[in-house]
Symmetry: D2
Subunit: 277 residues, 4 copies
C-alpha cells in the first residue's frame, strides 16, 4: 500500500468532483482526505486528494487526462519527504527553528545543505550534521555571486529553496531556475514596509502591530504570492531594535508554518495568490 | 434556479464522494461549494454540498438513500433564512450585537421574538420592531417557569433558540424540546471556570487570558458541544469587574460567529463535538 | 472628594517623578494610579497620574509650573465624561457598536449628535434618542460641505469628533479646527492599503490577514498618529466583499477600544506617534 | 556607572512613590524606567525601578528601610545575567528554543546545566557546549529520585530552575528548596485540563482553542502563580496527536516569554498571582 497526493487545477466545469473521484474509485484507491475550491472570480477549480492503495500512475494519469478539460494541470505527488537547501546570512533564529523542528520530527524535510553569504552559521549548522557552504559576495557582482550560489545549490537537486533571513536580493535569472520553489520570510506584514529595514519603517510610522510574511519569491521584490502571515502587538515602549527582537518569534513561526504547508503539497499558486487546501 | 445545501453524515465507505457527487451530477445540480471530512477515530463521514439548479427533492433523496450506507443521515436544507427566538436576562451586549448585525444584514436571520425573565431589554428590543415577552420567574419553580417560557416560545416555531446571556439554567425537559437547537454563550473559556461567576473564578486564579465559548445546550450544564471559542489577554491590573467588561466584546463576537455558522447549516454534531464544514 | 487626572509631558530630567509626586503629596492628593514613560530616542518624559482628594487647581498648577522644565505641557483633566459628535455615511456597524456600548455603560461618553452626509442612519440614531443631522454633499464643493458640517458640529461644542465610517476626505481647514481631536477608523492595517477600497487592494494582493486602524486625523490622509490596530485571518475563500464583511467586527472593535483610551485621557501624541499610558 | 533594579513591595500608603523616588534622587541615581501598581483589592503596592549611577547599596537600602512601612520587602537586583538549570525528559522543543535563543542572544541567561530523567537530549545539549546530567528514576522512589536530582542541581547554585517539559511531578520537599524559583510549562490553558494528558482531554472535550501556561511551581500541582499564557485555534480535523504537535510552538513561545520576564526581574508574586511590571 502506497500513499500519494493528487493535485488537480483546471477550469471549473460541472461534474469535476464526480469525475475525479470516480476515477479514483475505479482504480480502487481510497480517498483519505479531500478538499477542493472553486474560485468564482476566475472560474478555476482546485482539488487536493490524498489517496491510499496500489497505484498504476500511467493509467491513472491517462484516465484523468481524458476526463479533465483541456489545459488541466494534474500531478501525483509522492509521500516522500522533500529535499531543501536553506540560504542564510547572519541571523540564526529561522535556521535554528527549522533545524530544531527537523531534529524533533515536527517538520518532515530533508535538509540537504545550508548555504550562507557569510560563515556565521557554519558551526551551528554542522552541529546538526548538515553541510554548510559559504559563498561570499565580496568582490563579486550580483550576477557572479548568484552564479556561484547556483553551482553550489544545484549539486543537491533541491525541491525547494528556503530563504531563512537571506538578506540579499536574488537576480531574476536566479529566481527563474526555481519557479514558485523559493520560499522567503519577509520581516513585515506585507505589503506594509516593502524593502529594506521594515522594523525601522514600522517604528517611524508608530504602528501598534508588527508582522512577518512568508511568500514565494518571484522576480518582483516582496511581491510574490503570500503563503502565511502573522502578527504581534507592539506599543510605544518598543524602539526599532525591540521590534526586530520581538519580530523574531513571529518570523520563525510563520516561515515554519508556511514550509509545512508547502512541503505537504497543500499550496497551489494562481496568479499572484496562493490557494491552500 | 434554486439553491439548497445537502448535508450527509454516515459511516465512511470507499467511494462515498463519488457516489454523492454522481447523483448531484445526474440531477443536473451544480456543486458551487463542497467540503467533506472523515473522522478517522470514529470512522464517520461528513459532507456539506451547496447545490444550484432545479430540485426534485423526492427523487434526489431517494437516490441518496439507495446509494448511502444503512443509517446514513442526509438532509436538503433550503436557503431560506432561519427563524430564531432570543432569550435574555439583563445584559444587553449580545442581544445588541445580534440586533445590529440583523439590522445591517451581516447576520441573515429572522428574529421572531426576544423573551426575557426580566423586562430590562424590552425597550431596546422594541426599538428594532421585534416583539418582547417578559416571563418573570418570581414565585415560580424552575419547572413552572420553563413551562411558561415554552408556551411563549412555541408560538413562534423557531428553528433555533439563542441564549444571549440568559442567566438561568434550563431544565432537561425544556432542553429536550430543542435538541441541538439551543445555542448558549458561556462567559469563560470552557472547560475552565464551569458554573457561576467565571470572571470571579478567573480573577481568583490569576489567569492571563480570558475567553468565551458558544456551545449547544444539552442537559449537562456547560458541557454541550462547543461551536466557537475566542480569548483576550488580561493582566494583573484587571479585577473581576474589569474582566467581565473586557469579556463582553469576546462574548458577543463569539456568539455572533457561532450563530453565523449554525444558521448557514455548517455545523454537524457528533457525540459531544462539532464538525464545522 | 474629587477625581482628576494629571497629564505631564516635557523634556526628561533627573528627579521628575519625585518632583511631581512630591507636589501631589504636599497637596494631600492620593495617587490611585500612575504610569510614566521616557522616550529615550527623543528624550521626552510622559506621565499620567490619577489623583483623588480636594483640588486647588490654581496652586497645584502653579507648583507644577515652577517644578517642571521650561516648555512642559501639563493639564488636569476632570473625570467628567467627554462629549463627542459622530460622523457617518451609510454603514452602521461602527455607529451601532458605539450606540450599544453607550447604552450599556461600557463606553462612558456623551454622544451629543450624529451627523451624516446621507440620511441612511437617521432612524437608527433617533431610536437611541440622539439628534441626527443630514448634511448632504450634493451640489457642494468640498469646502462648502465642510463649512456646513462645521456649523452643525460646532453648536455641540464637542471634545472629540468620531469618524465612524465617514467615507469622505476632510479638508485641511476642517481638520485644523480639531487638532488631534478627530478619531478615524480606517479599514486596513495601515500603512498597508492606504486610500480607497482597501479590501479590494487586500484581495488583489492575496494577503492572509486583514485589519483595521484607528488613528487621529491630520491633514495627511491616512497618515495621522495610530491609536489602535487589530487583525483577523482570511484565506483564499474570501473575495473582496467577504473581506469587507469579515472586517466589520474588527473595525468596530478597534474604534471602540481606541475611543475608550482617548476618552479616559490615556493617549499622548508625540510627533506622528501615540504614547498610551 | 552601574545599572540595578529596585523592587519594592509593601502595604500601600500615600506618598510612597514620592518617598522612593526622592531617595533615588538624593543618591543621584537616574531612573531610566519605572512602573508601579497598587492592588486595590489587597491594598498592596508594587514598584519596579531601573536605576543607573554609582550605588552605595548599604546606605540606599538603609534609607529605604526607614522610609517604607513596616514589613516592606525591597531588593536591589543586579543587572548580572541569571543562572538557570533546565530539567527535561524526552521532548526537545522547549529546550531547543531556549538553547537557540541563548545562542543568538535574545534570551540573556547563563544555562549552567541540563538535567534529564532520560538521556534523550544529552547529545543536543552537548552540541551547545552545556553539561548534561542524566538522573534516571528507574528503581527509585520519588523521594530518592528528587534527592539525587537535588544533589546534581545544587552544585550549580542556580537562581532558577526551568522545567522544559520535565514530565515528572516534583515532591513538596524538592519544591521548598526553590520557592517561586521553579518555572514550569504546562501544556494546556490552565485551569482547563489540569493533570496528565491535557491534549487528550482537550480532544475529548472538543475545544476549538488549545493553549499553554507558564507558571511558578508550588506544592499544589498545576496550581502555582501563572506567569504567561497563550493559545492557538484548532478544529475538528485535529486529533489529540495533532493538537500536541500544534501545541509545541505555543509551549515553547510561552515558556521563553515567561522566562524573559522572570530573568529581567519583572515578576512579583502576591498570593497565588503574579504582578508583572
Amino acid at each position: 500500500m502506497e500513499k500519494k497526493t493528487l493535485l488537480t487545477h483546471c477550469c471549473d466545469k460541472p461534474g469535476l468532483i464526480a469525475k475525479i473521484t470516480n476515477i479514483c474509485y475505479k482504480h480502487q484507491l481510497n480517498i483519505t482526505y479531500n478538499s477542493e475550491f472553486v474560485d468564482n472570480t476566475t472560474g478555476q477549480f482546485f482539488m487536493r486528494t490524498e489517496l491510499e492503495g496500489y497505484f498504476n500512475d500511467t493509467t491513472l494519469l491517462a484516465d484523468l487526462k481524458q476526463a479533465l478539460p483541456e489545459g488541466a494541470k494534474y500531478q501525483l505527488a509522492s509521500a516522500q519527504r522533500k529535499r531543501v537547501v536553506i540560504l542564510v546570512t547572519k541571523e540564526s533564529h529561522c535556521l535554528g527553528d527549522i533545524l530544531m523542528k527537523n531534529f524533533d520530527g515536527s517538520l518532515d524535510v530533508d535538509i540537504a545543505a545550508v548555504v550562507g553569504n557569510y560563515d556565521h552559521l557554519q558551526a551551528l549548522t554542522e552541529r546538526f550534521g548538515i553541510p554548510f557552504h559559504c559563498v561570499s559576495h565580496d568582490d563579486l557582482t550580483r550576477a557572479q555571486h548568484d552564479t556561484q550560489m547556483l553551482e553550489v545549490i544545484e549539486q543537491y537537486q533541491p525541491d525547494y529553496l528556503v530563504l531563512a533571513k537571506y538578506m540579499r536580493i536574488l537576480s531574476p535569472d536566479f529566481v527563474e531556475h526555481f519557479p514558485y520553489r523559493i520560499i522567503n520570510i519577509h520581516h513585515s506584514f506585507l505589503p506594509a514596509f516593502i524593502g529594506a529595514k521594515p522594523y525601522h519603517q514600522a517604528y517611524e510610522r508608530g504602528v501598534k502591530i508588527i508582522g512577518a510574511t512568508a511568500h514565494f519569491v518571484t522576480s518582483n521584490l516582496d511581491e510574490g504570492p503570500i503563503i502565511k502571515q502573522d502578527v504581534i502587538p507592539v506599543d510605544h515602549t518598543s524602539n526599532a531594535k525591540d521590534m526586530a527582537q520581538a519580530g523574531r518569534d513571529v518570523e520563525k513561526n510563520v516561515l515554519s508554518r508556511a514550509l509545512s504547508k508547502v512541503l505537504s503539497d497543500r499550496v497551489f499558486v494562481q496568479g499572484n495568490k496562493t490557494i491552500i487546501l
